[in-house]
Amino acid sequence: MKNCEYQQIDPRALSVSPLSAQSHTEKKDQRPRRKWEVFPGKNRFFCDGRLILARQSGVLPLTLGLIVVTCGLFFAFDCPFLVKHLTVFIPVIGAALFVFVVISLLRTSFTDPGILPRATPDEAADIERQIDTSGSSTYRPPPRTKEILINQQVVKLKYCFTCKMFRPPRTSHCSLCDNCVERFDHHCPWVGNCVGKRNYRFFYSFIISLSFLTSFIFGCVIAHITLRSQAGKSLVQAIQESPASVVELVICFFSIWSILGLSGFHTYLVASNLTTNEDIKGSWSGKRGSEESGNPYSYNNIITNCCVTLCGPVPPSLIDRRGFVPPDEVIPAASSASEMELPHFSAKNDVNMCTQSTKDVLERMVNSGSQTLCSPGTPKTTPLVQELPGTAAPSPEPPPSAGCPGLLDSRCPFFSRSSEKDSLHSINPAFRLASPSPSLTRTAVTLNGAADVGFMPLHPGSARDEAP
């Protein structure tokens, strides 16, 4: 495996301290990581990426607690009486509703709402090229918009600076989760997640079933107290006998107003194929009275709108949480991209040790012979390393494979992933001739079929600090 000659330098002879600082990341880096571990948004993941939640879970525990406590009290204190005096179906219906509510709630909370993955650096560069940014003197350019026609209506697409792309229509960036979410409705603190395209139907079924549940419990508790006080006792006495019922009454009373109102509001939204976001902003209301500014997404038929929103097809999660990070993939817009980079195989350990050992030599070389660094894009390796004959001219392109890490692994013993900025520079033809800064950076290796691999000098732990 070790083709590089500089492995003769014993890394243990050097100071250990730079390595120990890295040992933490190295240990983590030795196993292939899943994409959820390097996800740039503010989300939390459970069950190895299967479940996703916003970082601020809001009052989800409170929501769950209220539901569980109220139903628990209901089953414990009201049901025995009601079963005896009314019918056995009461706890059955109650249980069914309770289960449905909890499942809907959990599904809403733990489902990816339709998060759009951030643009890759290449995409971002391509979009930047297409945007005319001439003459902008302010530090932050003005909001970029693009106008398109949807169903003969003009819709403005906004550019998202965080995700580095033009947001598709109906997409909005949630500041709490730091993600662009498709068909963004709102960020619900009760549910602890954004409500978007993929989990709107769960949210809707949650609030509808919750309205039924609260109404049902409310009705049953009223019936319970009424029946008790009818049997010759006063109301106060009946309440004293069953104090839990009062707690349930209070909770249900306050919930019903809000939940029923919310259900009604969302039923209206579903029927007119609107999102809360659009409704609040008044995107399609008759603000411009003379113009025909209806909702371009509506099918103008209530049934169709309902069917589309609630029963329509839904794409799988676009962020692919459980996929593995391929070795040549760059992490878009991650703030600590350099720390998260990793190769796909275990020789990273050796690579790091080698780099530390060559770093001193290379720095000396850089200071003395900077002309070798000015060749198109490639800082040359030290004389210790056997140079690859074909890599003299081209810049160090990252390996072209978008999905072929296995092949690269078998051919290339020493392989380091490029930083996002490097790939941006090496792929973008406009940047290809610019030499990288003499500070040693991680660059990928180009294979051209030769057995030996030229090793590019590394500077582990530092990302290139360039503004996009």
């Binding site: 289960v99 449905f100 499942i103 809907s104 599904r107 759009l116 993955p117 643009a119 890759t120 290449d122 995409e123 391509d126 979009i127 398109i148 026609l149 949807i150 169903n151 819709v155 697409l157 792309m165 598709p168 229509p169 109906r170 498709e182 068909r183 139907r201 769960f202 079924s205 371009p296 997404y297 169709t304 069917c307 609630l310 029963c311 329509g312 097809p313 839904v314 794409p315 799988p316 676009l318 962020i319 692919d320 081209p394 392109e397 990252p398 390996p399 072209p400 494979s401 978008a402 999905g403 072929c404 092949l407 690269l408 051919r411 792929i427 033809p429 180009t446 294979l447 051209n448 079929g449």
Partner: protein
Amino acid sequence: MAETHSLQDLRQQAAVAAKVFIQRDYTNGTLCQFQTKFPSELETRIDKQQFEETVRTLNNLYAEAEKLGSQSYIEGCLACLTAYTIFLCMETHYEKVLKKIAKYIQEQNDKVYAPRGLLLTDPIERGLRVIEITIFEDRSLTQ
């Protein structure tokens, strides 16, 4: 291997010259459709008809995935009734079509694009935002 390369060779040996991004086409709403406009960077590499044919087929496949028909409604209602637990064992129609799309792209890459030094990336890997076409350097084809 004088004139054409297999996909495997391309991935191993070639260096990336440029990437072209085919953006989404929103004229029909939020459905997943891609623009069929032929990018100028591909003029020297591939036939315009061939390219448009590929994009059009992809658009049709995505339209099929998002089609609102009785099948999708039945699937949706069934899922609702089983409290959405049915998707633990069943694949949605959308996912089935996505698999078809992946196969189609693989086949197009093998037959049409790789011999010309191009590589299509499945849009799902880019969040259904773009079709990324990687253009490999000419020199690798003339080695």
